[in-house]
Symmetry: C2
Subunit: 322 residues, 2 copies
């Protein structure tokens, strides 16, 4: 949780002069967001979120992220809409940081996802994949297979401090993924980080997808594989096939899978687990001095990677027609 | 800024079952509050604040704090109202902590107070002093003159690390205050921490007084003296007499000062500066491991204490009729 850049009410009042939102009624720093500073901003026109982008976000990527949210919101995806000022500009500057006002979405993130939540995520993800198709900007996925070797190098051979033999295990996984990773599956804009924190529900009804700051162009089925890891484990390694089936079936009702996607799913899920193992390992072994966020334990995704390594086909995920 | 106790949406949904507030629409941790965890909670009935009391707050004091807010809000003071559940209970428990839902107040805290803000604070403080008169619970002020010697002892003679000679200077101030402190001035319920962070404005109009967790029974003029320190300095030591005059004149229009209060004001202001010097010094010299809040530099209140030491009468604060 974090507010890295301080915003005084006086600064925001001047900032809001460029918008047609009326006066400022409330300003509160939000204790969430790892990469950015977020504020709850109530104006006469209603509630909004103010985001200031901190150094970990590449400012060159912001037109992609904000343009994508705008594109998707216009097409009915329940995601935050960047608010434009009177000149039609959404990306502004405040206190020396790139800054944007976005719409406020109702809903809360589940801590313990239900089967209905998983179905909602599958449906919304497929919808996002379809509706992102005609978005004009591209962004490569720096955290897909081509980036993993560098991430592993950043761990300086210290992975064995987490568990003896882990360095070799990771090296073997990366080598396998580099050889076997599919490159000709259906691809387009993916969210790439659709964890529980980033999905809002009202009851069991999905009401919002947020945090598009890992979104990129990559395989649709890789996004699905990330969601299987994020939504369908009860603990570090207990896989809940009922949730997986609900997620995958809801997805395919909106965007049917190709046979090759289903075939690749165990490898993609294993790769997705490796990707989160690597970033968590990196953050664990390279703690940032004065960081306001506690690094997440990498063990969870190590267990999940090993689970997927033992999966022979997508039958294990509840898809019986493979 | 801090959220010390984590609240999952699922936990809050169960908690809200006891209230007539409809469903949960949004839950966000707020990055403010030093002693407690605070959440922004949107329900069908509107926005609220959820506060969980952490270990630094004495649970025995909660009936005083919550009862006082209720008492004042009922009498028109713009302060948060504790929300009662269907059984009439405001003080509940959530995730092992005492917890309360309070009403949400519009307004923002100024970073740079204007003269109009200072007048608003004076007026609201006098109103609070009058309307607290018939509140039935008492709470002694553990951070008034009787508590300063112990606070100074907690600094373990290390004050000289801040500035050579500071230990002796503080000891002399405490000795003087113990001798000269007035005890027969008008007294009642005071806020005792009415800093800029704890006052909301919409434009120049005061819209809220918050954070009653230092409120207690003490001299009214001591509350005024705290506000002079908090609102009327431009920097560590530049005193703005225009702001002081506005604050004091607005106060006396609602509750006239007695002559003895005006006479005591320089000593009380010097004591108020000493009180904040001592608590900041204590927090500075006794940093809490893993604290999410950076201790405030004690120098600011050292300078202010020295300023007030040079004040001969309340004329220096803009009161010309002394």
């Amino acid at each position: 949780m974090a507010v890295y850049t301080d915003v005084a009410a006086e600064d925001l009042i001047v900032f809001l002069d460029d918008y047609d939102l009326g006066g400022l009624l409330s300003l509160k720093g939000i204790a969430e967001g790892v990469e950015n500073s977020n504020y709850f901003v109530m104006t006469d026109a209603g509630p909004h979120i103010l985001t200031l982008y901190e150094k970990r976000v590449n400012a060159d990527d912001l037109p992609f992220f904000l343009g994508l949210m705008d594109h998707l919101a216009q097409r009915g995806v329940p995601c935050p809409t960047p608010i434009k000022d009177r000149n039609g500009t959404a990306l502004k500057e405040l206190n020396g940081r790139p800054a944007v006002l976005i719409s406020f979405l109702n809903g809360v993130s589940p801590r313990r996802a239900t089967v209905e939540h998983c179905a909602g995520v599958g449906r919304a993800m497929a919808d996002l994949h379809l509706k992102g198709a005609d978005f004009s900007i591209r962004r490569e996925n720096s955290l897909s297979v081509a980036g993993w070797r560098e991430l592993a190098l950043g761990c300086h051979g210290q992975a064995d401090e987490i568990e003896p033999g882990l360095c070799d295990e990771i090296a073997a996984e990366i080598a396998l993924m580099e050889t076997c990773w599919p490159h000709d599956l259906p691809a387009g804009v993916i969210h790439a980080d659709l964890f529980c924190d980033n999905v809002f529900f009202e009851g069991n009804t999905l009401s919002g997808l947020i945090d598009f700051y890992f979104a990129c162009n990559d395989l649709f089925a890789y996004d699905v594989a990330i969601a299987l890891n994020a939504w369908c484990f009860e603990s570090a390694k207990e896989f809940n096939v009922t949730k997986a089936r609900a997620l995958l079936h809801a997805y395919r009702q909106v965007r049917p899978f190709e046979a090759a996607e289903i075939e690749a799913l165990p490898l993609l899920a294993r790769g997705a687990a490796l990707r989160f193992l690597l970033t968590r390992l990196f953050d664990w072994l390279n703690p940032v001095d004065g960081a306001l966020v506690t690094p997440k334990n990498p063990h969870e995704y190590l267990s999940r990677m090993r689970f997927h390594r033992g999966v022979e086909s997508a039958v294990a995920y509840g898809l019986l027609d493979t």
